[in-house]
Amino acid sequence: MSAYWPFIVIGIFSGSIYGLAAMGVVLTYKTTGVFNFGYGAVAMFCAFTYWKFHDVWGITAWFAMPLVLLTAAVIGLIFERIFRPLAGQSAEMPIVVSLALLAVLQAAAVLLYGGTDQGAQPVFPTSTFTVGDGLHVGYDQVGTLLVSLAVGGLLWWLLRHTSFGTSTRAVVDNRDLGGLLGINVTNIYRASWVLSSMFGALVGILLSPTQGLDINNLTLVVIFAFAPAVLGRLTSLPLAYLGALVLGMSQSLLSKWSSTGTVGNIEGALPYLALFVLLIVLGGRLQEVGSRVRPMTAALRRPVASRAGNADVSSVDRKLTVGVLTFVAAVLVPVIVHGPWLGYLAGGAIFGVIALTVVVLTGWAGQISLAQFSFAGIGAFTVGHLAGSHGHHFLVAALVGVLISIPLSLLVGLPSLRLSGLYLALATMAFALLMDNLVFVRNDVTGGVTGLTASRPELFGLSLASPERFYELSIVVLGLACSVALVVHRGPIGRQLQILRDSPVAASTLGANLAITKLAVFVVCGAVAALGGALLGSFQQVITPANFSFGISLQLLLLVVLSGRALIAGAVVAGALYMFEHLPGVPASVHNYIPLTIAVGVVVLGRSPDGLVALVTGRRGGQVGALFRPRSSQVRRTIGSRVTDGVLVRSDG
């Protein structure tokens, strides 16, 4: 038995940090209805800030700590300000924006702090004392546990025994009524964001000495806290904390057994596995906070688009014209552009095919998938094995890849599609991270870090080995995919997707089976992504896990939202941006700022479903300004436009 005690001590230590993080996530979700996917990035950013203040500039911990907490508070206030106008918007907006903020903080950390793996000095002394017969316990472990318990206790006391707590619970219970009772709802939101960010700062500072100061790693480690947060159904602070302790201990005990390495990185994947399993098991018992309180004023808040959708015949014709012209231009490109440059264009076009699945999922069906590149990876690695290693035909390999993706997307989609978009986003994130940590790390699956190799295929007697031929193939595939998407969007299936977004309740009472429709869309998009991945794999010739990770799926989502998530053109623009990002010869001074620009662009433009494309075509330019306008004036505007509308109609008749 005594052999387990050291692992239990380590487990309690890490579990108590996850507990802090889980409480921070639950706090803002409970009060504001925003699930902060960017929480790990807040923790990471604050940890780097502390490292800069303390380790680099030599400020003592007693000064550096309050300074970092202040930084965290400012971040919290900024987050609050950004999320406030998103209340009552379509449910995927806060998810996308919090993911964009994650990317903003990551990019900012790279620019400000360098972002390479830094060693951080521990906050507490790392010396140990001995308990009983030879159990060594670190002072840092005890200190961390005490801090975490103290902060958790403080939060509990705040919520239970102060007027702040009473107001918060009133707002949690019913946002609108809380406001009517004279509670300043905005101040409550601000307080919860500030508290949550400060928790995040503590988490980051306490984690960094053991986890290392690494931008990606720290951000992902905090995602460990999402599983206990879901265990507490995103609303129970004590359950979330307890769950985090259990998770920390199981992870630590697992590391004792799994040192043989036969099951990939099992202890690293355990939190994601727990998140995934919890989402499946808790299933229908999970509810969204926002969905419970939103309907009261949703009718007022929901701005109605001023354009006449896809019914506007002239606009459809214009879209077709633009599409055809773009395709013709793409066909003519090889006249001017040659050799490897065409290869980059081909890569962008294939990326566009995968991006199109995000347009359909997010822009049309209102679902957020953070696993599209995991599905692409399934296609790519299947091609790597069957076509590359075993010499089967490319088409056979691609087909097998698509077939493998279907049961997996069913597995991800089935439990979560009965629920709201948040849980699908969480499930796809867990799935992508599981693929990264359990499947794509395995040498026998992906060839490890160096990856697999595949040669460019021969199709219908044409060798696609040269960049020219492959470019032609990829624009034909992209053009076909866009045409199919356009036809589907304008027909009955497009209308089905639209009615599920506009009013799921009305759609169901007309006979629409929400779950089946959403599942079908999810599976088809997974299959197309797998096909795109197969193409991408055989194009790149070297297929490495790093190109199909969660991070790439996230980047894809942000690029599509930036470009215009509701438009087919958005997918093409996303492909072009991706290509530009990977073009050689872009000076470092420009290249280094691209991720930050994309992420900030999503935060600013994210509310417009037409994104950058809208900016270019000049439609809905007011969206950008509207982000910074207080919500009350927006409501007035909406009502105003309706009244005018009524008058106009009367004068018509």
Partner: protein
């Protein structure tokens, strides 16, 4: 098919929301070719009853039967496909679609095959018929979310009709309508049940506009605080002292 029973029947329906008994062993019968009124003061449980009938709220007790088949546990979409359509008190339009698209989507959703292939012509024809009957033709290209409430209610009615229902549940179709629109609604309702007898359409109507209810309904059920307190013809209901007491002081009766 030849049974005498109601087309849609609910018996002993009870629903609790926390401490509130929203419905307490309510019985309701909806006959084909008839307009059944469901009235009662605010908070009497009328909309909750609609939600139970369409499957949006599961009753704690009681049964819902459609044409002899028990459908109590059925999901909303399955009931819709079996022939129950409804409108909403708080409009649930597909606000970012045009009026015509709202109707097309309704037909496609309510019919097998969803307007792909051969269904396309049938779909267009039905949508055109419904548009004409409700006078929605001039609004076809307007965005549903930009319509005033009265016209929005007509679109919801049209959408429900496009699914070719056997039972139509209308939740306050008259509110927000001006006098001319109300008159038109009355004519439409009467035409749907009495003239087009071949459809065997049954209508259940929740409405606060008493003159409208008294004019179009064949039978009326009255709810008060979640309980059914009366059931009968408009004349019987008008003369019923219990109903008068329940409505006493309620401006709606005036």
């Amino acid at each position: 098919m030849g049974e005498q029973g109601p087309l849609l029947g609910a018996s002993g329906i009870s629903v609790r929301f926390g401490g509130l008994q929203a419905l307490d062993t309510v019985d309701l019968q909806v006959q084909p070719d008839r307009i059944t009124g469901l009235i009662g003061p605010n908070g009497a449980g009328k909309t909750t009853m609609f939600n139970v009938l369409t499957g949006l709220v599961a009753p704690a007790q009681g049964q819902v039967v459609l044409d002899g088949t028990e459908i109590t546990g059925w999901a909303p979409h399955r009931r819709a496909r079996a022939g129950i359509a409804r409108t909403f008190q708080r409009l649930e339009l597909f606000s970012r679609m045009t009026v015509e698209q709202n109707l097309l989507a309704a037909w496609e959703t309510g019919h097998r095959g969803g307007g792909l292939g051969r269904g396309k012509h049938e779909c267009r024809r039905r949508v055109a018929d419904v548009s004409e009957m409700l006078g929605l033709g001039p609004l076809a290209e307007r965005l549903a979310g930009q319509l005033p409430t009265g016209q929005g209610r007509l679109v919801e009615l049209g959408r429900a009709l496009c699914t070719d229902p056997r039972v139509l549940l209308l939740d306050e179709p008259g509110s927000g309508l001006d006098a001319a629109e109300t008159e038109r609604l009355c004519e439409i309702l009467e035409r749907l049940t009495h003239d087009g007898g071949a459809d065997r359409l049954a209508i259940l109507l929740v409405e606060h506009d008493m003159p409208l209810v008294m004019r179009v309904c064949d039978v009326i059920t009255v709810l008060d605080f979640g309980k059914g307190i009366a059931n009968g013809t408009p004349e019987q209901i008008r003369a019923n002292p219990i109903v008068q007491a329940a409505y006493l002081g309620d401006a709606d009766v005036a």
